[in-house]
């Protein structure tokens, strides 16, 4: 075993009373590639943000090169030779490669003006090391994502980074670019750099990593050499969460096929085909970037389809705008509540009736306030929306109540198909349960529901069937009876279930 250069010991982190990391230990070895894996929300990012000084730990110790350190900001960790390459690269598109590499520490002459010659010469040297032939004067925006990644690495190297953390580095890369990245990683290793490699792609981990650390629900599950593991073992460790009985699933007798999607293809999803029956909850599972939200938004008319058919009750739909989807009976509760689910500056009443305002107004478009008020009071009561009244602005409601308003708005459009995208994200436990019960009510009333969730237990607990997506495709569909966390995760990382 080679020398441990970074050791995080018994790290705990709380966010306003909620423990997101519990006694996690994490090691980085000299000249090795350490894989860090876990489900969405397992605590990988939080752990890395603590290591790089973005967050401060609640308790625990960090040792770098044998000495205890306390990074209070990213600059501190940078000085200790740790660089973090984020999934969304931190480059400025309108600046050149060289300007990006030396941003904030440009070489200056005696007079204080930037020494461009030196800047570009040095940039060129770093690029050469990585085998990147681009002119350092080229704008970053003109480079492919793969090359941008290499620029980030060049920047890290120019900062004297010993340890480079890469978060999902191959997410947007082509096969050739991935190969190139891997050869760079091998090169870096040979030159004594250490890498932390965060990825959902287990194949890549087996190709490039030396050791694996698995996190689950903020806890360390194991740290092992890659030779002692195989893909199935990693998947088992990633999920293995206890299923408790908090999901009030009700049995369903699925009726007729309501929605029939055939070969749906666009920029985000590829050849997606599935059916949805009346009174059924179809869960869609998958890891971040699997294309679930994009699929939902294609069905809702936000994104255009390039190919394929969306058939609702035997009618082919042409969806060019959410208004078309709503008219046909497809509603969508967004995962990005504040971004596009609700209008924070409008009140409860105005939000709930926004999608179906036509049904409250006459020919010239005059809104009947009494009709509106009556309907809104109904929603507030039946959904137990906690608000001081229908005139309360949405920004003063809690996350759970905002979510209920978002759901109510979609219900008010009287949909046949209700798509719920992460319906319990950012809501507290009590409200979660209420939302589950509401979903079941809709099901009983004969609505057909598509529920997207990153929480596998939630998907397992609520769905009648589970569809798993990976990189824009459907990897498999599981019946409730056969579905397990392991099977879902296996499909989600892009492996076939045996």
């Amino acid at each position: 075993m080679s020398e441990t250069i970074i050791a995080m010991k018994n790290i705990a982190k709380e966010f306003s009373g909620v423990r997101v990391l519990k006694n996690v230990s994490f090691n980085i070895y000299d000249g090795k590639v350490m894989a860090l894996v876990g489900e969405n929300g397992a605590g990988k990012s939080t752990l890395m943000k603590i290591l790089t000084g973005v967050y401060t730990k609640t308790s625990g110790q960090i040792f770098a090169y044998g000495k205890e350190v306390n990074f209070s900001n990213p600059k501190d960790s940078q000085r200790s030779g740790i660089a973090f390459i984020h999934q969304e690269l931190n480059l400025i598109r309108h600046l050149s490669i060289g300007e990006n590499i030396f941003l904030g520490r440009e070489p200056v002459s005696k007079l204080g003006n930037i020494n461009w010659k030196q800047l570009y010469n040095e940039s060129k040297q770093w690029l050469d090391k990585l085998g990147l032939k681009e002119d350092p004067r080229e704008l970053v925006g003109n480079l492919s994502v793969g090359k941008q990644q290499l620029v980030e690495i060049a920047k890290a190297l120019s900062l004297n980074a010993k340890v480079i953390i890469m978060d999902e580095p191959t997410g947007a890369l082509t096969v050739a670019e991935t190969e190139k990245l891997f050869s760079v990683i091998r090169e870096l290793k040979a030159n004594g750099h250490s890498i932390v490699y965060i990825s959902h792609r287990l194949k890549e981990i087996f190709e490039i990593c030396d050791d694996v650390t698995v996190l689950r629900d903020g806890e360390l599950i194991c740290e092992k050499s890659i030779d002692e593991l195989d893909e199935d073992k990693i998947i088992e460790m990633m999920v293995g969460r206890k299923l408790d009985e908090q999901y009030p699933r009700i049995p369903c007798e699925p009726g007729e096929v309501v929605l029939d999607v055939r070969d749906l293809t666009n920029k985000f999803v590829k050849d997606v085909s599935f059916t949805l029956r009346q009174g059924e909850i179809l869960g869609i599972a998958g890891l971040m970037g699997a294309g679930r939200t994009e699929l939902a938004r294609t069905l809702y008319g936000v994104y255009r389809k390039d190919r394929g058919e969306i058939i609702l009750e035997n009618r082919k739909l042409r969806l060019r705008h959410p208004t078309d989807a709503l008219k046909q009976g497809i509603a969508y509760v967004s995962e990005d509540r504040k971004g596009n689910g609700i209008v924070l500056g409008l009140n409860v009443r105005e939000n709930i009736t926004l999608s179906a305002l036509r049904s409250y107004s006459g020919r010239i478009g005059k809104i009947s306030r009494s009709k509106e008020e009556q309907s809104v009071q109904n929603y507030i009561q039946s959904m137990t929306i906690k608000t001081s009244g229908s005139g309360q602005l949405l920004k003063y409601l809690s996350g759970g109540n905002q979510q209920k308003v978002s759901i109510a708005k979609n219900l008010d459009a009287k949909p046949k198909v209700l798509i719920l995208d992460e319906p319990t994200r950012g809501v507290d436990v009590g409200a979660k349960k209420e939302i589950y019960e509401l979903i079941n009510q809709f099901k009983k009333q004969g609505m057909s529901i598509i529920m997207i969730s990153s929480e596998i237990p939630e998907i397992l607990g609520m769905s009648d069937r589970i569809m798993v997506m990976h990189e824009g495709r459907i990897m498999g569909t599981l019946d409730r009876a056969e579905a397990t966390q392991e099977k879902i995760m296996t499909l989600a990382v892009g492996k076939e279930v045996s």
């Binding site: 705008h321 208004t323 596009n340 209008v343 500056g345 409008l346 999608s355 005059k366 809104i367």
Partner: protein
């Protein structure tokens, strides 16, 4: 202390009644209201634009070109009703072009309307050849000039027009579907689109309305002077924006009301009147106006930040 703009207005009234005993005369009040009416009509359209998070800089130029067209129609013997209707439609059409540039062309409202503002000013100068177009002498001229100079029950016609415009705008914003969409769009465009609302259509409505109201202001100005000046309306967009902002409407969109614009327009009208009554030299008037606008907006800002 919810209604800061109203308080500013009342303070101005109190100060004026102390400083000048001619202030509270019927004649002076009517003068203030009549002088306010032009800006008020334009500011109403501007309120729509600012509520959706946009702006309409072209209003002054729309006023000029529409005034010029109206004047030449009247002087060529066209009927008053036809002239008014066609001029209003012209304003609406120009507004629609602004709306298309902004919604379909995805231009920043500031840039799009800056472009049409400059372009239309040029068109007006070319069309009028830099000279005023007089309506005097034409058959319909006397009736046409009534729009700007006439009285009904001792109150000038422009005041009625202003009040009518305010009432209609209030009704649109408070009671019509499109009004609700305007607030929604100004607060969160993406969520509004996700709620199945064609936000492009809302933008087309708003800029068309602004163009129409600028044309209406153009008719009033031309009728009042019995002549269309090629430079009419220059800088009016700024007075309109000032009225809207003084009325508490947020430049970021989504927050505000027509009642605020009523008060904002009155503050500006009153200020102009007061500075004249107090015989402040005209160069100093702009200084004073600027100071009052900044103080009023700062007070409003502080109140919002404290919330």
């Amino acid at each position: 202390m919810k209604n800061k703009p109203l308080i500013v207005l009342l303070i101005l009234c109190v100060i004026m009644s102390i400083l000048n005993d001619r202030f509270w005369t019927w004649g002076n009040i009517i003068t203030v209201l009549r002088q306010t009416s032009i800006n008020a009509v334009i500011a109403t359209g501007m309120t729509f634009a600012i509520l959706i998070g946009g702006i309409d800089l072209s209003v002054g130029s729309v006023l000029a070109i529409c005034g010029a067209i109206a004047a030449s129609m009247i002087s060529s013997g066209y009927d008053v009703v036809l002239t008014v209707v066609l001029t209003l439609l012209l304003g609406l059409g120009i507004g629609l072009v602004n709306g298309v540039l902004i919604s379909k062309g995805r231009l920043q409202p500031f840039i799009a309307t800056l472009g049409t503002m400059t372009l239309l000013r040029g068109v007006t100068l070319v069309y009028t050849q830099g000279k005023p177009i007089r309506t005097t002498g034409a058959e319909e001229s006397v009736l046409f000039s009534k729009i700007g100079t006439g009285y009904f029950l001792h109150i000038p016609i422009p005041i009625y027009i202003m009040i009518l415009v305010f009432i209609i705008a209030y009704f649109i914003l408070r009671h019509l579907r499109i009004g609700r969409y305007i607030y929604a769009l100004g607060s969160n465009e993406e969520a509004t689109m996700y709620s199945g609302i064609k936000t492009d259509n809302v933008k087309l409505f708003v800029y068309s309305a602004s163009g129409l109201l600028a044309a209406l202001a153009g008719i009033i100005v031309t009728a009042r002077l019995s002549s269309a000046q090629p430079t009419a309306g220059a800088g009016y967009e700024l007075d309109a924006i000032a009225a809207v902002v003084l009325g508490g409407t947020s430049m970021a969109g989504g927050i505000g009301a027509i009642s605020g614009t009523v008060i904002g327009a009155l503050i500006i009208g009153l200020l102009n009147n007061a500075l004249n009554l107090l015989q402040v030299p005209s160069y100093y008037q702009d200084v004073a106006k600027g100071v009052v606008i900044l103080i009023a907006v700062l007070m409003d800002r502080k109140q919002k930040a404290a919330r």
